[in-house]
């Protein structure tokens, strides 16, 4: 199979359509805009629909309606637009709809938003953070699959670099076979006494009252199962590492590069990357950190994922933040930290501090 040169946004839309996505609605905002544009180019050709919604709130509402009919459907935005969508994001989780969200963030400052959510109540979304365009293609296919499997939203957390870098990509996934969804509304059960109800408040047909407690507890059981089974993780050179550097998404690509460079020079440094930000791969990370003297978290924000890293190693090894806020003049997150020389400097000084303190 030949590799086709595609920008990340185009590759994502192509992978989504190949995975059977037939509906997309979004509202333009850099660096997400091209994802919307590419769905707009691709969906009509396969009989699907892409709507340039009048707002992010309407975009997610439309996607909600499409999902309820059983279609594979997606929306997306940047952190700002997702902030507007929060009420729907949490309620769609309760309506148990398999939403896929393409979040092209302006840097990594939306880690909390993606993993904790700004919406109300107890809800969880699977979040994948691809390191490059090729992985984004794989994770997009996986996102639709896992969303349907769990009937739960899945978010792809990318950024400017992911959306705008072009790479040669291959599409090897098996052709999409529509998934049977007996819960989806098609109108057919009206008048039968068994009509369907896609309901985020746990309201059952034939009943005037709701039972939030047992409804929410049932969702919690599901989220516990997801947490126990869906974590994804990558690591390198951890065996004899004295320092373990943890990073996610595009930034991890720089970190992995620098760690390989330092390794080839004989430095005892390892690399670890949560591929899923939720569920956070706590066990795998704790295992990778075992035997190291320090864990350094390099993220492009004021320190967010570091909380999850600390919760993973539970005090067994000191955890320090060596990243930080970094942006270009437009605020798109293309800051000076995205430079292997700068990152090498940060990792080297973490190694030196290690020597000083031991």
């Amino acid at each position: 199979m030949t590799r086709t040169l595609m920008e990340g946004s185009e590759a994502i839309a192509t992978a989504a359509v190949a995975a059977g996505c037939r509906f997309f609605a979004g509202y333009p905002m850099t660096p997400f805009t091209e994802v919307l544009e590419n769905f707009g180019k691709r969906l009509p050709a396969v009989g699907g629909v892409c709507i340039n919604a009048e707002s992010e709130i309407e975009a997610i509402g439309m996607t909600w309606g499409a999902l309820a009919t059983g279609a594979r459907a997606a929306t997306g935005s940047t952190g700002q637009g997702l902030a507007l969508m929060q009420e729907s994001l949490s309620e769609i989780t309760r309506a148990e709809l398999p939403l896929v969200v393409f979040h092209m963030a302006r840097g990594q400052g939306d880690y909390y938003q993606a993993t904790r959510g700004g919406g109300h109540g107890d809800y969880r979304h699977i979040v994948y953070a691809p390191i490059d365009v090729r992985e984004a293609v794989e994770l997009t296919e996986l996102a639709f699959d896992r969303a349907d499997h769990w009937r739960n939203p899945v978010q792809i957390y990318g950024d400017y670099l992911l959306a705008h870098t072009s790479e040669g990509v291959e599409f090897t996934a098996d052709p999409f076979v529509p998934v049977a969804k007996d819960w989806a509304v098609d109108g057919s059960l009206g008048g039968s006494g068994r009509s369907r109800n896609i309901n985020p408040i746990g309201m059952q047909k034939g009943s005037k009252s709701i039972d939030p407690e047992s409804f929410w507890k049932r969702l919690q059981v599901k989220h516990d199962q997801i947490e126990a089974s869906e974590a994804r993780f990558e690591s390198e050179s951890t065996e004899d590492a004295e320092l373990l550097v943890v990073a996610f998404g595009s930034v991890a690509r720089f970190v992995r590069h620098v760690v390989r460079e330092l390794r080839s020079e004989g430095r005892k440094v390892g690399y670890a990357r949560p591929i899923s930000l939720w569920p956070f791969p706590a066990e795998a990370l704790a295992a990778a950190a075992r035997g190291t003297q320090r864990v350094a978290v390099l993220e492009q924000n004021a320190g967010q994922m570091i909380d999850d890293v600390r919760l993973s190693v539970l005090g067994s090894v000191p955890v320090v933040g060596i990243g930080g806020i970094s942006s270009d003049s437009a605020g798109f997150g293309m800051g000076p930290l995205l430079d292997t020389r700068v990152i090498r400097g940060r990792i080297e000084s973490a190694l030196e501090n290690l020597e000083v303190s031991t």
Partner: protein, 273 residues
């Protein structure tokens, strides 16, 4: 309103009108005719009409409803039609997504004035302007009934609510929005009408409006809206039996009943009814 109005029907004198049975009170598309809405509430009457029309058009097994959030939400568990429960204000976009994926189904929303004209005003306007082939049904009682009788964007001038205790004052609270009139100039609109459930005649007329709106959708003519003025004696803080009179005198003054757009063409100012 007369000041000597009684809370119960006065049976001392002769009846002023002949009593007639208006119809069957439990439409087939209802799982349970008993509901928890207040006595004298107009919403169940409007919902009954809606379900009867769907049944009569032969669309019982080809309809998808999207329900907003207000007192009528209690019916989400009772209506025997495939339903999607939406968030407050968001039903029109949810209906849009569903219709685009199932273009051969009858798609309707059921929303209140708080839901449609306050929280989700832009949703209904955009959906109408897109000419989306869905029918939005608005139950307009001029208050947030569910939260206990607060002012909405359709509350009439002078109307007392919990957040306009001295009556809605234009200088302080601004003016009511006549949503049906607002949609008239939009290109994608095929049918717009305002009815009411204040009396038997209005009920019959309103049912005909719902039928026309759905027929417009079935014919693929574009967006349709039926606004239905409904009594909310609880949220209006008046005796139950005063509901219909209050509806006509207060809400009906601002939101006149009648057809506004038929076959995609404005038909002038709605006739009083």
């Amino acid at each position: 309103m007369s000041s000597d109005r009684l809370d119960v029907l006065d049976t001392h004198g002769r009846p002023t009108r002949v009593s007639t049975r208006v119809g069957e009170f439990e439409p087939k598309l209802l799982l349970d005719g008993e509901h928890d809405l207040c006595p004298g509430c107009g919403e169940p009457v409007a919902i009954r009409l809606l379900l009867e029309v769907i049944e009569e058009l032969g669309y019982a097994q080809d309809s998808i409803g999207v329900i907003g959030i207000g007192c009528y939400t209690a019916f989400t568990g009772l209506i025997d039609v495939d339903l999607i429960q939406a968030l407050h204000g968001r039903a029109p976009s949810v209906a849009t997504g569903a219709k685009r994926m199932r273009p051969d189904k009858l798609l309707f929303t059921l929303q209140g004035d708080g839901d449609m004209v306050n929280e989700g005003l832009q949703e209904v306007i955009h959906t109408a302007a897109r000419g989306e082939s869905v029918t939005c049904v608005l139950l307009n009682n001029g208050v947030f009934g569910e939260t206990g009788g607060h002012m909405t964007a359709t509350t009439a001038l002078g109307q007392r609510t919990k957040t306009s205790l001295e009556g809605r004052d234009a200088d302080y609270h601004g003016y009511p929005i006549p949503i049906a009139e607002l949609l008239v100039p939009l290109g994608g609109v095929s049918y717009v009408a305002r009815g009411s459930v204040a009396d038997a005649k209005s009920v019959v007329r309103t049912k005909a409006m719902l039928r026309k709106a759905f027929e417009a959708q079935i014919a693929g003519e574009g967006f349709s809206l039926v606004e239905i003025l409904t009594m909310c004696p609880t949220g209006w803080f008046i005796p139950t039996a005063d509901g219909p009179g209050y509806l006509d005198e207060v809400l009906g003054e601002v939101h006149a009943a009648g057809e506004l757009v038929v076959g995609g063409k404005p038909v002038g100012k709605g006739a009083s009814g």
